[in-house]
């Protein structure tokens, strides 16, 4: 039986410096104003999909963004790739040294330590960076052009970026197909996406993302539409590319159990904010933020004794709209620990937004945005 080695089994990884530093990223979508709002000059309202998040991704790392639908994890991924325009913040990215010259020729100057702010580059000059930043989407049925053959799907990025002669490209495509185990490659080249299974399509999508040898790949729920039985195979493929090329991955998922197997670090998002950040296994095994605790408690496990009792999930109510974010800590209306510790916290949580800081207990690299666990006086 084939299998995928876990992060832990591979031992300590050689992690380089940062490849990406995101600071105070905000993505707000303006709401259409009603006539009354215009007449009464009321201020513009926004859906605050991502509302000020800061994190870094190390070279060769798998960094996970975890959260429920609507928490802003996909928008974060897209903003880094400039597929949606950020409202504010910076995203410092360190391109490969080969690319530096080309960028400078285009008039994009790098900062002292070789970083470039992705959000300051005009759109028309962004193209060389697309080689470095790629994405694998969730839905392999929607992400591949149904009218292109697999050859064309994989060759297109090479053509667009002017890489190789016709014959060289052909060889690169064949090699790529083999490395995603679509063999023999000649069998798959002239097929169309509809002739492939979901798992095979997702391999094509992965091949397409990696064919330009990018420094950073955003994988947005790459296995959640696939059968459980083949998920591990696709995850293994992603990881093997990462190992071989040193590419960093931003892995977006709602599934903490998957995150535990493949991620180095996790950022848990709630309503546009990171509420907890740190080592993947430590967070899942010892969550500190009340929201992370609820997420962990909610996940079903293949243990049939669970059926004799109700699952207790320590959370109240439902996710509020990102257009009407609660005051103070945005989680406080749903927080059971706020109720438990009400006397101490009643003047904090509903009023003041907690920063993402090192908690009083826990590992040194853990960060939590919760007044119950970070120091304040």
């Amino acid at each position: 039986m084939a299998s995928v080695a876990s992060r832990a089994a591979l031992g300590a990884e050689v992690l380089g410096g940062d490849v990406l530093r995101v600071e105070d990223l905000r993505v707000w979508f303006p709401l259409r104003r009603t006539i009354t709002e215009l007449v009464t000059l009321r201020p513009q309202r926004y859906v605050k999909a991502v509302d000020g998040i800061t994190f870094n991704v190390k070279r060769g790392e798998v960094f996970c963004l975890v959260g429920e639908s609507g928490c802003g994890k996909t928008t974060t991924g897209k903003a880094i790739l400039r597929l949606v325009e950020p409202t504010g913040g910076t995203a410092l990215f360190k391109p490969k040294s080969e690319l530096v010259e080309e960028l400078e020729r285009k008039g994009i100057s790098l900062e002292g330590d070789g970083f470039v702010d992705l959000f300051r580059i005009p759109r028309r000059k962004f193209k060389p960076l697309r080689r470095e930043l790629q994405i694998v989407y969730q839905d392999p049925y929607g992400s591949l052009n149904p009218r292109f053959t697999i050859r064309r799907i994989l060759e297109d990025p090479l053509i667009i970026h002017g890489i190789g002669s016709r014959q060289e490209r052909e060889e690169m495509v064949a090699k790529m197909l083999e490395s995603v185990k679509l063999t023999p490659a000649s069998d798959f080249m002239d097929r169309y996406p509809h002739q492939l299974s979901g798992g095979q399509r997702q391999r094509v999508a992965i091949a397409r993302a990696f064919i330009l040898n990018p420094s950073l790949v955003v994988a947005d729920e790459p296995v959640s539409m696939l059968d459980v039985s083949i998920r591990a195979e696709i995850l293994e493929l992603l990881l093997s590319f990462k190992e071989r090329t040193g590419t960093s991955l931003i892995f977006i998922t709602h599934d903490l159990a998957v995150a535990r197997y493949i991620c180095d670090r996790i950022a848990v998002m709630y309503l546009g904010k990171i509420v907890e950040l740190g080592d993947a296994r430590a967070i899942i095994e010892r969550p500190i933020h009340p929201y992370t605790k609820a997420l962990v408690a909610a996940i079903p496990e293949p243990d049939p004794t669970n059926r004799t009792r109700l699952r207790e999930v320590p959370i109240k109510g439902e996710v509020p709209s990102a257009a009407a974010i609660p005051s103070g800590c945005r989680f406080h209306p749903r927080c059971v620990e706020f109720d438990q510790d009400h006397n101490r916290l009643k003047d904090m949580c509903p009023v003041k937004e907690p920063p993402l800081e090192q908690p009083m207990e826990g590992e040194p690299d853990r960060r939590v945005a919760c007044w119950r666990y970070i120091p304040w006086s």
Binding site: A2, A9, S69, S229, R260
Partner: protein
């Protein structure tokens, strides 16, 4: 009819007659369901689990049809019934269904109350004023406020809509509810709440539930009996306590190893190489043999029957011959 058996499916065959060949989506499936029993049916996409559910309701879409076997409820054979009779006597009253993706089941142009009312007045022959009281009662039984009745589906969250759909399925007090991937489109926190609701309803009303999902963890949360389907056939069937702790079929074993766990040691996550069989032209012998790590000569030649491997526990693998 046997005592305690609410539903008996015997050698059911549902085939799809497509232009490119006959798809044997359900190919000789037998099982029964007791009052109050929760049966979980698991399998990959294309294993025939949803087709099996549609067959029980007589809702197999063309070009599919039931070509053999029987489905007995209350002494009636549903496979022999016409559309009008199924509508009148079976659907909603005996068996109802919670479909996959609740968000798309409700029509956007009517209020939630109006949609539940239709079931009550058309199928239940209730007056509109009686229906109103019953709607409130139903909404409250699934943990919703009665004011939800006057809302439109777009005003509700995914979890609320799924609760409405469950309330609708319960409206005419059926003996059996079939839930096809009831939580797949929902977030984990909401999923846990919906599973708790189904659990509570099953306990309080002694309801029988057929739960169809690809997620074995969801099955473990609810089902006391599990049926693992592969390529239109039953691979393994048994009490969940046994199937999860001592899986007999190599397919079940592989499926369980493929589930990422939240606790315990992180060991190697297995997967099943290859793709599910093409049911127009299934492999000879055991349908799983091309992907099976334990396959031997016989598996490619002869199809294994379901061997008894323990109390109420069956497995269709030659390795289990003579066990139990």
């Amino acid at each position: 009819m046997l005592s305690g058996k609410l539903l008996e499916v015997e050698d059911l065959k549902t085939y799809f007659y497509t232009l490119r060949g006959i798809v044997r989506a359900v190919d000789g499936v037998s099982f029964s369901l007791r009052k109050g029993e929760i049966l979980g049916i698991a399998g990959e996409s294309g294993s025939g689990k949803s087709t099996l559910a549609w067959s029980i309701l007589g809702l197999v879409p063309p070009p599919g049809r039931i070509v053999g076997g029987s489905i007995m409820i209350d002494g009636m054979d549903l496979t022999k019934m016409g559309e009008a009779e199924l509508r009148k006597r079976v659907r909603w009253k005996k068996v109802s269904m919670v479909f996959q993706g609740a968000m798309n089941v409700l029509t956007p142009v009517y209020t939630v109350g109006r949609q539940i009312e239709e079931v009550l007045t058309i199928h239940g022959r209730m007056s509109r004023s009686d229906a109103r009281a019953r709607i409130y009662e139903l909404l409250e039984s699934v943990g919703l406020h009665r004011s939800i009745a006057d809302r439109y589906p777009h005003e509700l969250s995914g979890g609320q809509k799924q609760r409405v759909v469950i309330a609708m399925a319960l409206s005419l007090e059926p003996d059996i509810v079939i839930a096809d991937e009831p939580t797949t489109a929902l977030d984990v926190v909401v999923q846990a709440q919906i599973l708790n609701l189904l659990k509570k309803l099953a306990w309080e009303k002694n309801l029988s539930i057929i739960l169809i999902t690809h997620d074995l963890s969801v099955i473990a949360e609810l089902a006391e009996t599990v049926m693992i389907m592969y390529g239109g056939k039953i691979a393994e069937y048994g009490p969940s306590d046994r199937v999860f702790s001592q899986p007999k079929h190599p397919y079940t074993q592989a499926l369980l190893r493929a589930i990422p766990r939240l606790r315990g040691p992180i060991d190697r996550l297995a997967y099943i190489p290859g793709t599910p069989p093409d049911l127009r032209n299934p492999p000879t012998g055991c349908r799983f043999h091309p992907r099976c790590p334990k396959a031997f000569d016989r598996c490619a030649r002869e199809e294994p029957p379901l061997f008894r491997v323990g109390e109420n526990h069956l497995s269709a693998c030659w390795l289990n011959e003579g066990e139990g």
